[in-house]
């Protein structure tokens, strides 16, 4: 029998997804050119020297590619078998890190090993993804079961907490990406929706907390948020309690009441119409709680809880902003929401990065011709703000290509994850793509001034060995799992 026809003996290189590898190689190559542009020193223009950051990055890229191929050669069962072990070791390392690490800009997350520094947090994502995949792969595991859900949650929260203890909030937030995996695996959508709704309440509530609605004494923010809570509550009712008939009555009477209050305030006596809206929300929540008790249906209670939770979250957000957050964090939030113009302080980075990107124009200034990045106007331009260099030197077209490559990678990974035959493979695959998506979303959004400034690297672009190796590890383990998977199914 021909050896090639025996699927068990075919090399994983034959079945590995070469398209993903191509995307990976394209991205790290683009990344290296960006590092060249960003760390170009007018006094030391030799970009291939080992002393320069470009030279080092090239070496790390070489290591990464080697690492990738080594990972492909390992037996695919290894990852499943070692998952918990790796996870536990990682937890220990994370716990020890603050004691071994040196202070770099207030964070204790870097461990020095000889001449190179490593950031364990970058590798913790991979370990967590493996452990999560293994847990969810267990027979009978379902997220509808509270205990199972809690187990999955703990696996995510543990490393996250340890990383927060290292004062590396940015890296810790990345672990939120795992909730996208949980969503895919059956976590109720309302959880995700509640999370997003919370962000919306906060943003709108704070952003428009000063201007008042014409003719009333109500801040626009408060009014809009209360209205949203009312609409979201009815929306949830519609989704989760389809038999609830009075939906339209509630919607219409709510709007009529609000309009009446608005008219009364505008034409008769101005007053704070937020009380009316708040009243409607409370009445609705109370009514739902009553229905829940009367009909012994927990679903009504959930919706009521959503409504009450939203209200309390909104009214506490103001308190949190002013009393819990530190002044520099408050400033950051206000600047992000456009309430303060602070181009020398907290907004400086973002303003300079917008200038750098905006000056790129359609076609960019050309490789190594960027003035803003070369003259160091953008801080951390070769790590967190690396995308500025792409924007400035390659222009809109180059930036669009890079964004396209990332989108291509993520969509391809969704496709690969969906074709896995094991829950292990699928969960791990979704973990990988969710982490990439989160990084791209936050990092590029921050550079474009759309998301908060959270210091996390752009995969394959940002200068640094740890993050490049971390992302390579994540990706190639999945490619190996996929290759093995494909071999068994063929």
């Amino acid at each position: 029998m021909n050896a090639n026809l025996d699927p068990r003996k075919r090399s994983s290189f034959a079945t590995v997804d070469w398209l993903t590898i191509m995307l990976y190689l394209l991205l790290i190559t683009c990344g290296w050119f960006s590092v060249c542009g960003a760390s170009y020193d007018m006094e030391h223009p030799d970009i291939l020297s080992w002393d320069s950051r470009t030279g080092k990055q090239l070496a790390w890229m070489g290591c990464s590619v080697t690492l990738g191929f080594v990972l492909l050669m390992l037996e695919d069962k290894v990852y499943d078998t070692l998952a918990y072990f790796v996870y536990l070791v990682m937890l220990v390392v994370l716990a020890l890190t603050p004691f071994l690490a040196t202070d770099i800009k207030g964070s204790y997350s870097w461990i020095r090993l000889g001449s190179i520094s490593l950031q364990p947090a970058e590798f913790a994502k991979c370990a967590t993804a493996l452990a999560l995949a293994k847990t969810m792969n267990q027979y009978g595991f379902t997220l509808q079961n509270w205990k199972d859900f809690a187990r999955a949650g703990i696996i995510i929260i543990l490393p996250m907490t340890l990383i927060i203890l290292q004062r590396e909030t940015g890296s810790a937030l990345v672990f939120l990406a795992f909730f996208l995996v949980l969503y895919r695996e059956g976590m109720p959508g309302c959880f995700l929706f509640s999370g997003i709704a919370a962000v919306i309440y906060f943003v709108i509530g704070v952003r428009f907390s000063i201007e008042t609605l014409p003719g009333t004494l109500t801040p626009i923010g408060e009014f809009s948020v209360l209205l949203l809570i009312f609409i979201f509550t009815l929306g949830m009712l519609h989704t989760y309690v389809p038999k609830f008939r009075a939906l339209w009555k509630w919607l219409i009477s709510g709007f009529v009441l609000i309009m009446a209050a608005l008219a009364f305030s505008t034409y008769l006596i101005p007053f704070d119409i937020a009380w009316v809206t708040l009243g409607i929300c409370i009445v609705l929540a109370s009514y739902l709680a009553y229905r829940s008790l009367r009909e012994r249906s927990i679903k009504y209670l959930y919706v009521a809880l959503f409504s009450v939770g939203s209200l309390s979250l909104f009214y506490s957000s103001d308190y949190v902003l002013n009393n819990v957050l530190k002044p520099h964090q408050q400033t950051r939030i206000r600047v992000l929401l456009g309430m303060e113009e602070d181009i020398t302080g907290a907004g400086y980075n973002v303003n300079q990065s917008k200038i750098a990107i905006g000056s790129g124009g359609l076609e960019g200034k050309g490789f190594l011709n960027g003035t803003q990045t070369k003259l160091k106007y953008v801080p951390e331009q070769d790590t967190d703000f690396i995308f500025c260099t792409v924007g400035e030197e390659e222009g809109f077209l180059g930036s669009a290509v890079v964004l396209g490559l990332f989108l291509g990678l993520i969509l391809r990974l969704i496709h690969l994850a969906e074709r896995q035959t094991t829950t292990f493979g699928r969960v791990y695959g979704y973990s990988v793509l969710s982490i990439f998506l989160f990084h791209v979303f936050i990092n590029i959004g921050m550079v474009l001034g759309l998301t908060p400034v959270i210091g996390i690297p752009l995969p394959f672009f940002s200068y640094g060995g740890s993050s490049l190796w971390g992302f390579t590890l994540l990706l190639f383990i999945f490619l190996r799992i996929d290759a093995g998977n494909k071999r068994t199914t063929n």
Binding site: M42, Y183, G358, S359, L362, A400, L407
Partner: protein, 617 residues
């Protein structure tokens, strides 16, 4: 192992979210990079330091190519307010040689947006301008200590001769007014601009074009090199050099002879209209109007008696007196009021209907040529009276007056001639309207008879008088007098290259020339009779409340004239007293290139003969 189908649709939600994020970011990128230009400008102002390269100002030479005005290096001390903090003020003031009070005052002035409209805390502002090299050396050594202060290399005007201040003018720091009227957007606060004289009127030619060096500046403000190795730099274009019609030796002589007197001497080359010399007294040393001293000197000169800043040659409006008579002769001949043969009586003056205009002793009756030679008042009074009462030729006295005025305007009187110097005045030639208003329309030739002898309402600038001499020398035309003969690499304005013909035909000029020649040979101008030059001249003694002005107008040689001159000395008495000898010396100097020893002695005599002025003029 089964594929999870229960939540399979959620992959679309996740994929859709990824696509939505990328699309939003693409839109954002598009709006930042393609839709808006602001970021590009912002980036440029971030990274590019546009350093202005100042052109060197054009040089000024006299008609023989002698260098009159040139540039020497000087230094502007600039300050960036934002960076200037915590310097040792005492040390600074000592090195600069200024007082602490001056320092504080100057800083306040810089910040005052009314006085300094272009003020910015982040850009260099002029602290002190035009410091000469020798004063600067002390400061240069200490410059590194004074954070926020920097130096700009500039140049300062130097004058090779201490004469010609009124013509040459000077440069000074641009005023807020200049900045407002700056249509080409050429000047920045602290720049120099021509303030007076040809420095002002030829500012655009002299200043050249600024260059620009584009430097790359990093986030700390350090210069990191030139942008694209200077590919987009622009080299400054030096200003154009000017060659003047002025003969600097002649100018020096004229100023020398006017010392201690008030008045003006103007000489014109009739064939071109070029000004050969233009002296106005009292004058000042142009070298005092340079650099930091300019403001102080300017203030002092403004308050000084005799108003040295006034260029009397073009701003002084005097009664022309008898120098006006040739114009009367010319228009009388042209209008047919007189012929060379017509004689008028003169019994120590013009007496008619109870009006008497005095004259000095000479034979009577008298014809045109001797009348000019002896400067007979009566002759020209009759001439005007006959013209103004000629009802066959003119329907009214107003019409005659208008005709009279038109002749004079065609000879360059009554309006600005249009010399290439700022501040020229027009003089006064009255018209019919003027007298209609003054006399309620009840007037006749006798009422205004004094205008026939250059008195009364008639006034003219010395330049206009010199221009008359040039017109007669040319037998009927003139070029608009101009100081600048040649602009390097360009032609002078066409208005200065066009002949302006008067309303009098050339043949009639010959009689006037003959009269002026007779005046020199055996008339009032005998003092101008040079042995080897055929000078033509006309004296003027303008009545001025007991202190008559002394004037002279003439040209030489009679045929192919090369110089026309006007001399006007305030309160100098008879024309022969100052006007004639000064005019003769000017003619001799110019035509011979030097003065004879006897003339030299005469010039020195006049230099030391001062006139005491009681009234302010």
């Amino acid at each position: 192992m089964t594929r999870d189908t229960q939540f399979g649709n959620r992959k679309y939600v996740i994929g859709g979210a990824a696509i939505a994020i990328i699309i939003v970011y693409l839109i954002r990128l598009f709006s930042l990079q393609v839709m808006s230009d602001d970021y590009k400008k912002n980036a440029d102002s971030n990274a590019f330091l546009k350093k202005i390269q100042y052109p060197s100002r054009g040089l000024i030479m006299d008609r023989k190519g002698k260098l009159l005005v040139y540039n020497e290096p000087a230094y502007n001390i600039m300050v960036i307010m934002n960076e200037q903090q915590g310097i040792d003020t005492l040390d600074f003031c000592r090195s600069m040689g200024i007082t602490r009070e001056f320092y504080i005052k100057r800083m306040a002035e810089i910040k005052d947006r009314k006085k300094n409209p272009g003020y910015s805390r982040y850009t260099p502002q002029l602290f002190l301008g035009q410091i000469p090299a020798e004063e600067f050396s002390v400061f240069r050594e200490k410059l590194f200590r004074f954070k926020g202060f920097s130096v700009e290399n500039r140049s300062i005007r130097h004058y090779a001769y201490g004469v010609g201040a009124h013509v040459l003018g000077d440069v000074g720091e641009v005023s807020p007014n200049d900045l407002e009227n700056d249509e080409d957007d050429f000047y920045n606060s602290g720049d120099d601009i021509g303030k007076l004289g040809i420095e002002r009127s030829y500012e655009k030619q002299l200043r050249g074009e600024k260059g620009m060096q584009i430097l790359l500046r990093d986030v700390h403000g350090r210069i990191q090199g030139r942008y694209q190795d200077g590919a987009y730099d622009q080299a400054p274009v030096p200003g154009r050099n000017l060659t003047l019609g002025i003969d600097i030796d002649l100018q020096a002589l004229a100023e020398r002879m006017l010392e201690g007197k008030r008045g003006a001497i103007v000489a014109i080359e009739p064939g071109t209209g070029e000004i050969l010399c233009m002296a106005s007294s009292p004058t000042y040393d142009p070298r005092s109007m340079v650099g930091r001293e300019r403001g102080k000197s300017h203030k002092r000169l403004t308050n000084e008696a005799g108003k040295p800043l006034l260029n009397r040659a073009i701003m002084g409006q005097y009664p022309p007196g008898s120098t006006f008579k040739p114009t009367q002769a010319l228009l009388g001949l042209q209008e047919g009021i007189i012929t060379p043969a017509v004689m008028f009586p003169c019994y120590h003056g013009f007496s008619y209907k109870g009006l008497h205009v005095g004259c000095h002793g000479h034979s009577t009756p008298i014809a045109l040529v001797p009348a000019l030679a002896t400067s007979c008042n009566s002759y020209f009074c009759w001439n005007l009276y006959r013209m103004f009462s000629n009802r066959t030729k003119y329907t009214s006295v107003q019409e005659a007056m208008t005709r009279w005025k038109d002749y004079l305007v065609s000879m360059g009187y009554g309006y600005r001639l249009g010399i290439d110097l700022p501040g020229e005045r027009r003089g006064m030639i009255p018209n019919a309207d003027y007298y209609d208003k003054a006399y309620n329309k009840r007037w006749n030739g006798l009422t205004v008879i004094s205008i026939s002898i250059g008195q009364g309402e008639v006034t003219a600038t010395p330049l206009q008088i010199a221009n008359l001499a040039a017109t007669i020398a040319n037998r009927g035309y003139y070029y608009i007098p101009h100081v600048v003969r040649e602009v390097q690499g360009a032609q002078i304005d066409t208005t200065y290259r066009r002949r302006h013909y008067t309303m009098v035909s050339p043949s009639n000029y010959n009689y006037v020339v003959a009269g002026m020649r007779q005046a020199v040979l055996n008339g009032t101008c005998r003092g101008a009779n040079l042995p080897d030059i055929e000078v033509c001249g006309k004296t003027g003694t303008a009545e001025n409340r007991g202190h008559d002005h002394s004037a002279f107008m003439g040209f030489a040689p009679m045929d192919h004239p090369r110089i026309a001159v006007a001399v006007y000395v305030e309160e100098g008495g008879f024309g022969a007293e100052f006007g004639v000898p000064l005019g003769a010396l000017i003619i001799e100097q110019y035509l011979h290139g030097k003065l004879s020893p006897a003339s030299e002695e005469k010039a020195t005599k006049f230099q030391t003969r001062h006139i005491r002025y009681e009234r302010e003029s």
